[in-house]
């Protein structure tokens, strides 16, 4: 039986798509929200490091199925490798209702004003496609506020002198510092820095009819057993469904956006829960599959007017794939500095985001989420024993005594860092898979060195008897859980994929609302910005779309 025609299709029930679906549904627009995964299971892997979003060696608890969803990575020099979600280089986010917002660390950063105008702030950078966004922080500010209040954020920006201006405070008080953070806070104050509590998409107090955080040790990388971590799965998606205007279709893999000969999107082809091919028609299609899958879907959607994929007549779809090189330092202390209250990360510094001589962008620093036992086996000072008695002694004596300060560097967009579809490799449903290739900009590594040296200086001041840096930002391709940039916004259709409202150039009823449309990832975890963009695009659609067409 044919599916009933609806007003709108939203593809991907993550940070962006869940919000768009809700904005449409509560405004009387009928929506089918497609999700290739299922509802997350909260208590399947509560204390299982090897099947978590931090170490997926034995499985990917929040999807996708590692046997059905390969990707291809092309390394420098051209060697090509097929990768799965449980092997390195896949850039796995998640595939479930809520997507990454189920298991993320949940830092709730607003980008700074400069992040929206890198070119104006820093000028052109050789080898990079860096540019200004077509929207400003000021325009997005009310949507950040909506994200903070509707999804739920704990924090106190008044303690961060570098925070961008805001009209309304964050809805919940900030989390208190753990022991590690207290030590680092005092030390950084002595250095003249400006520490403050990390804003979090977690409940510091009961909020939205759900519990407050219980400081579970295993938080980042896991689903919250008391549902105190806020994602789209426990906020906007239930609201969308309750409105009666949104049908959530899980286990459904959208493989093509159908575009007619006049260049209008008419609906999507997908495989349903039983892997049967289906068609859903709609007046409007919104893609929110995250930077890699969104680009893949556009590239796989070929039509008469868009023979190289939807919105790709000027070859910008899939370009500028970015993520975050993490960079920082470790310090060893002669006492137990960790208290293992979850999630671990509580203090941050924005002193190194912008306005540091010679650095384009920079990045935040924070103390790290709780170290897990297996991951900790790779945290060692240079020249340490990797195994044997030396390994074991270190593991046993230093596990509670190792502090880490780390942060995501603003990566510079690169035209050749990209997602394409592989001509040979196909997934379980015989659809060409995403292929990631390209290198990071050479300056990323230089910027990482800067940030790592700052992290090390904080640890030294805090009394660490030995410190060492781990410096990221080399090689490629980029991507990862913070993937962004592959369908950038812009006013010129020749140098971008969507306009400032996420509308694909030349396809009036096709929109994108996820990290793909960002021009750069900031020196911040991008979740709150993706949510704000969801409210921005969704709000625009709700205002301007009535029944079957634009007002």
């Amino acid at each position: 039986m044919a599916n009933k025609h609806v007003n709108a299709i939203v593809i991907g029930a993550g940070a962006g798509g869940g919000i768009v679906a809700k904005e449409l549904a509560i405004n009387g627009i009928s929506v089918v929200l497609f999700e290739r995964g299922e509802w997350p299971n909260y208590d399947e892997h509560p204390n299982d490091e090897l099947i978590s979003q931090r170490t997926e060696v034995l499985g990917s608890p929040f999807g996708p199925d590692h046997l059905r969803n390969p990707r291809v990575v092309t390394y420098k020099g051209g060697s090509k490798q097929i990768v799965t979600p449980i092997r390195g280089g896949y850039s796995n986010n998640a595939a479930c209702v809520g997507s990454g917002t189920v298991s993320y660390g949940a830092m709730a950063w607003r980008f700074m004003e400069e992040d929206f105008k890198l070119k104006t702030t820093y000028g052109s950078v050789e080898g990079s496609t860096l540019d200004d966004w077509p929207i400003s922080y000021e325009e997005l500010e009310p949507y950040y506020e909506k994200a903070e209040w509707e999804i739920g954020v704990s924090g106190d920006d008044t303690q961060n002198p570098f925070a961008p201006p805001r009209k309304k405070k964050q809805p919940m008080p900030p989390f208190e510092y753990n022991q590690e953070a207290k030590v680092l806070y005092e030390a950084s104050k002595r250095l003249g820095l400006h520490p403050f509590p990390i804003p979090m998409l977690r409940n510091s107090v009961p909020y939205n009819n759900r519990a407050g955080c219980i400081r579970n040790r295993t938080c980042c990388g896991f689903a919250c057993p008391v549902d105190a971590k806020n994602g789209t799965q426990n906020t906007v998606i239930p609201i969308a469904i309750q409105s009666g205007n949104c049908e959530l279709r899980t286990g459904s893999k959208v493989v093509e956006i159908m575009i007619d000969d006049q260049g209008k999107a008419t609906g999507v082809k997908y495989f349903d829960q039983n892997d049967k091919p289906q068609i859903q028609t709609a007046d409007l299609v919104v893609v929110s599959g995250a930077a890699i899958e969104t680009a893949r879907l556009l590239l796989n959607s070929k039509s008469k007017l868009f023979q190289n994929g939807a919105g790709n007549n000027f070859d910008w779809v899939g370009r500028n794939l970015m993520g975050h090189a993490y960079t920082g330092a470790y310090g060893l202390f002669d006492y137990d500095i960790l208290d293992f209250s979850g999630p671990g990360a509580t203090v941050a510094w924005c002193d190194f985001n912008h306005h540091n001589p010679g650095i384009i962008g920079g990045g935040l620093l924070a103390n790290e989420f709780n170290r897990m036992p297996y991951l900790y086996t790779n945290i060692r000072p240079p020249q340490s024993a990797r195994w044997g008695k030396g390994h074991k002694d270190f593991q046993r004596s230093m596990y509670h005594r190792t502090a880490q300060v780390v942060g995501p560097i603003q990566e510079l967009p690169m035209f050749e860092s990209r997602v394409t579809v592989d001509p040979e490799v196909k997934d379980f449903w015989s659809i060409p898979v995403a292929s990631m290739s390209g290198e990071r900009h050479h300056l990323d590594h230089e910027h990482c060195k800067f940030l790592s040296s700052k992290a090390e200086s904080i640890l030294k001041e805090a009394g660490a008897y030995q410190t060492w840096q781990s410096v990221g930002g080399q090689g490629g391709p980029s991507g990862g859980q913070h993937q962004n940039g592959t369908a950038r916004m812009g006013n010129d259709k020749k140098t971008s994929v969507v306009n400032k409202f996420g509308q694909v150039h030349e396809i009036d009823n096709l929109f994108i609302a996820d990290g793909s449309i960002m021009l750069n990832g900031g020196g911040f975890n991008p979740a709150l910005t993706i949510m704000a963009l969801g409210f921005w695009v969704g709000g625009h659609l709700a205002k301007n779309f009535s029944g079957t067409k634009f007002k």
Partner: protein, 181 residues
């Protein structure tokens, strides 16, 4: 011709042979492996034990790391089967040629010496083919760490031994951190 129904057959067999008929397969299961042969397992156990040796706290053998590796090789890590099979064979050949003994029969000092050669690829192609000794070494190194520090539900870290060594709460009591002073 009489038809022997399954239920009757089992009843009859049970009467005739007691539990002997069913027992041998169970016996065979005990102490054996899904992927490794008994001989291979001796070599792997010795390697794992040198990676995480027993001292005042348990080592890889006590924690059952071999069972973690064996189980994953027959499941998620199927693509690593060849590396193990060839790696063990190469290691045993090398040890027999150099010292006339299997790896597991060497002294601890000798074992560590050989493992350092593997780790730094100082065993050449003519003594190790196919594959590279360091590939096999790095693989078993990470698998040993996973088995020792991962959740017991995957076969290793028996009774959360490593969590005890690391002084981590086990089993995880949800929310207990909140009430700590």
């Amino acid at each position: 011709m009489t038809t022997l129904h399954r239920r009757d057959f089992i009843k009859t067999a049970g009467l005739a042979f007691g539990s002997v008929l069913l027992f041998p397969s169970c016996l065979k299961q005990t102490g054996s492996y899904r992927f490794f042969t008994a001989e291979e397992a001796l070599c792997v156990i010795a390697l794992c034990e040198q990676i995480i040796p027993k001292d005042q706290s348990p080592g890889a053998t006590d924690a059952g790391v071999i069972h973690y590796i064996d189980r994953q090789l027959s499941g998620v890590f199927q693509y690593d089967q060849e590396t193990y099979r060839n790696g063990i064979k190469n290691l045993q050949n090398y040890c027999r040629i150099k010292s006339g003994k299997n790896f597991e029969s060497l002294t601890a000092i000798e074992q560590i010496k050989v493992m350092k050669l593997m780790e730094s690829t100082q065993i050449g192609e003519k003594d190790w083919s196919p594959g590279h000794p360091s590939d096999f070494f790095n693989l078993i190194l990470s698998h040993t760490m996973q088995g020792f520090y991962g959740s017991p539900i995957h076969g290793g870290n028996k009774d959360f031994m490593s969590f005890e060594m690391l002084r981590i709460d086990y089993p995880l009591v949800i929310g207990q951190n909140r009430y700590r002073t």
